[in-house]
């Protein structure tokens, strides 16, 4: 297994390089003089010239890429002109909040989605199946940012169950209870679409598996139906559900942008939107590369989980 993990880590290197090339090329599309774009139109000529030298902007595209890549590998993602601090520091500060939000959502959507899909499949065409199918359809059709706003109206303003927004109260203690209170609505709103997608796929994967011969074998052995569904069938269905979990993790991680805006959550997503609006190019660039790299690493974890689950995968 260690060998397999190493192999997957090595195979991630070209993907990471590819990601850096794509981000670099996108940023190279910026119209006009990049240094002016980065520093803003009030920059002094000296500063523009210094930045041009630092980023190698006076050189060719290829040389510029390698300078940028080299800097990043040394942990230098550049400096945010709007915040006047290193990009990496800012991203790392913000990333924790995003990770808490997206991570909670991911756990929520995985558990809820799989449970809903399994129940739906086990009760195919029954009342539970129809109800779940309808809720799922509603879930994948509602924009998460709209859902978040409506939740604020109902649960924060009307019912006063949860705070309206933010991650921590402005005054007062910062403990787990307070965090969970603030986290509940955004995490749920962020998980809804992914829950729907996972539930749909889990349902069809389960239906596929339940028709297999080994399910009949389990039943012929006299295994209890609950075990047939939740052990025999789900275990086999997980093989096709896990890759979907990986894809949905990407949706949750990047969809956090909307939720962070709605709930004033101090994460990377809101940082990115602010940076885009302020044309803080280096901050955007660094933030995007950082998140994309995290996602690649996460996908390796998904592959490893898959290999642990399915002994037929050559490790």
């Amino acid at each position: 297994m260690t060998g397999y993990i190493l192999k997957r880590l090595v195979s991630a290197i070209p993907v990471l390089l590819g990601i850096s090339v794509i981000v670099f090329l996108i940023m190279a599309m910026i119209p006009g003089d990049p240094a002016t774009a980065i520093l803003g139109s009030y920059a002094t000529p000296e500063n523009v010239e210094k930045l041009n030298r630092d980023l190698g902007l006076d050189q060719g595209l290829v040389a510029r890429y390698f300078i940028w890549l080299g800097n990043m590998l040394q942990g230098d993602f550049g400096r945010s002109f709007a915040l006047n601090r290193p990009v990496l520091d800012e991203v790392l500060d913000r990333f924790g909040a995003t990770l808490i939000l997206a991570g909670t959502s991911f756990v929520l959507c995985s558990l809820l989605g799989i449970a809903a899909g399994v129940i739906s499949a086990a009760r195919q065409y029954g009342v539970a199946d129809k109800a779940i199918t309808f809720v799922v359809l509603l879930g994948i059709s509602i924009p998460s940012f709209f859902l978040g706003m409506m939740m604020i109206l109902v649960f924060a303003v009307q019912l006063r169950w949860f705070p309206v927004s933010g991650m921590w109260p402005i005054y007062g203690d910062r403990n787990l209870g307070v965090l969970l209170e603030h986290l509940a609505m955004p995490a749920f709103a962020l998980s809804v679409v992914a829950t729907g997608v996972i539930a749909r796929l889990a349902r069809s994967a389960m239906l596929e598996v339940l028709r297999q011969d080994f399910i009949r074998t389990a039943r012929a052995k006299g295994v209890r139906e609950r075990q047939v569904i939740w052990r025999h069938a789900l275990r086999a269905a997980m093989v096709s559900i896990i890759p979907i979990l990986g894809i949905q993790a990407g949706f949750v991680l990047s969809g956090a942008v909307y939720i962070e805006m709605v709930f004033q959550w101090p994460g990377v997503g809101r940082m990115l939107v602010d940076a885009i609006l302020k044309r803080d190019i280096l901050l955007v660039q660094g933030g995007v590369v950082f998140i994309a790299a995290c996602y690649v690493i996460f996908n390796i974890m998904v592959d490893v989980a898959q290999a642990l689950l399915d002994p037929r995968i050559k490790t």
């Binding site: 794509i22 996108i26 309206v164 028709r211 074998t217 389990a218 012929a220 052995k221 995007v288 399915d310």
Partner: protein, 627 residues
Amino acid sequence: MMAFFRLLARNRLALAGLVVIGIVVVLALITPLLPLADPDVTDTPNRFQPMFSAGALLGTDHLGRDLLSRLMWGTRLSLAMGFAAAVIAAVLGSAIGIIAGFYGGRTDNVIMRGVDMLMAFPYILLALAIVAALGPGLMNALIAVAAVNVPFFARNIRGITVGIAHKEFVDAARLAGMRNREIILAEVLPNVLPVIVIAMSTTVGWMILETAGLSFLGLGSQPPQADLGSMLGEARSALITNPHTSIVPGAMILVIVMGINLLGDGVRDALDPRLKSGALSRPMPATTVDRDGPAPAARTDSLLDIADLRTEFRVRNRVYKAVGGVDLHVEKGECLGIIGESGSGKSVTALSVMGLVASPPGVITGGAVHFDGQDLVGARYEVLRSLRGRRVAYIFQDPQATLHPLYKAGDQLIEAIRTHEDVSREAAHRRAISLLKSVRIPNAESRMESYPYEMSGGMRQRVGIAMALANDPDVIIADEPTTALDVTVQAQILSVLSDLRRERGLAIIFITHDFGVVGQLCDRVAVMYAGRIVEEGPTAAVLRSPQHPYTSRLIDCVPTLGGGQRRLAAIPGLPPVVDRLPHGCAFADRCDKAQAECRAGSIALAPTEPARKVRCLFPEVAKERSA
């Protein structure tokens, strides 16, 4: 195409989606013609007018602009953006996909690597990066959303194109001297077009959501122009004081996307052939029982007595009578063979005993199965379950498919033991090893840790047999356990079964299509044809002098060692389809002795010699066979 629309129309939800989308699109198209207020004229004294106020049906927003008018124009813009993004993504993505799939080789490799890289990004993040580079704005958001969806189309269409690029008609076009570009346009494109359209119809909802999302963040349409997303974004600051300004555009997005999703699901379902055949329904824990009369009494006091069993498959409006009134019994320690061609109903008979016929579509419509004095047809599920594996166990045909692929052989055995007996895992583990030894598996201890895919077919079937033996059952029903195995392995498995039967006094129902196997193992044999028993009797007697013409033909199918001179006689014709059984003898059409009477009415299974029965008006006369 018409059938497709009919199918779509039958799906009421999809139709509802179509209607909703139709209305929204029509309204969006005629918006400029409607007598609406100018959506961009501000009137700050009249800001935040509530819904249903005079002159503003849906109220006004934070600048006093008419919400209804803004909603209509915003919907128009959102639909146009989503649709445009879908078209751009589809055109670019499909072009890339077709080129990669058609040319293959290095071109394909390079392109698909690039596509994989793009797909390695969390989706919205890439769109944000593009907007960051190009700057916020309607067109830039459109480009960003289209760009992030290009890989989706490229990958799907490439897959389809690869399949087409190697078809005969493409080769023919190439031989005819057509250039690649001509082939792509004339042969490939028309074939992938339907797939492109379907992919578009299922993604346009996403595109609308994403463009609205970017606008919501302030990165899409810029004031005063507004799509639904930016309306929602602008209303956010007044969410608590004036929620209606948020609810109006948000609800519209929900309605549009839900309509599109309903329609998209309908299209997908209409195109999926598996749904039509009902193949996607999952079998229930026990076969449905729908007996139209009282349960018949047991005819014998055997261990297992099947009386007038009827099982049918109900697929759409057709009924396949797989088992049409079967009487069978098996004594303690006896081996009964059931033989017939595929589709004769032998497996369904066997599976009906413990309610294991897949249901839907299977239904037991009549008869009884008495086991140990209790009727199993219509028994409560919990009763059936406690008997399954404990008193009546099954061995199935293809051990590759019948063992769980992801559990170790040992764990599957231990589960079989612990399902019915409250023993510790260690005790069950020891028992499992001795079970593996009893079916002559070498290195039983290490085999416990093997996964089914690590074993040979014969080994897997031994595990299957060991699992059936786990709870020392009274009856084992073996449904073609040797059919998937090669001949030497088959012989080993048969000898294992035969020894076990002698040692443990097991009753075995052995289902096969091979008289050779029956001859080795079974005391009695029942021959099935078209869901009914046509002949029954002691194996030796039936083999020596078959009385039903069908039996006689089946026996002729068995090649004998050193009997090279005799021609192997396949039976001409096919068994009848069991949803249109003929009157009278079902075999009449394939029988060279058939008379008019044979087709006149139903024929009884009549006793001939002691312990022998045949369902034929003109049984074969006893003749000593040379075989």
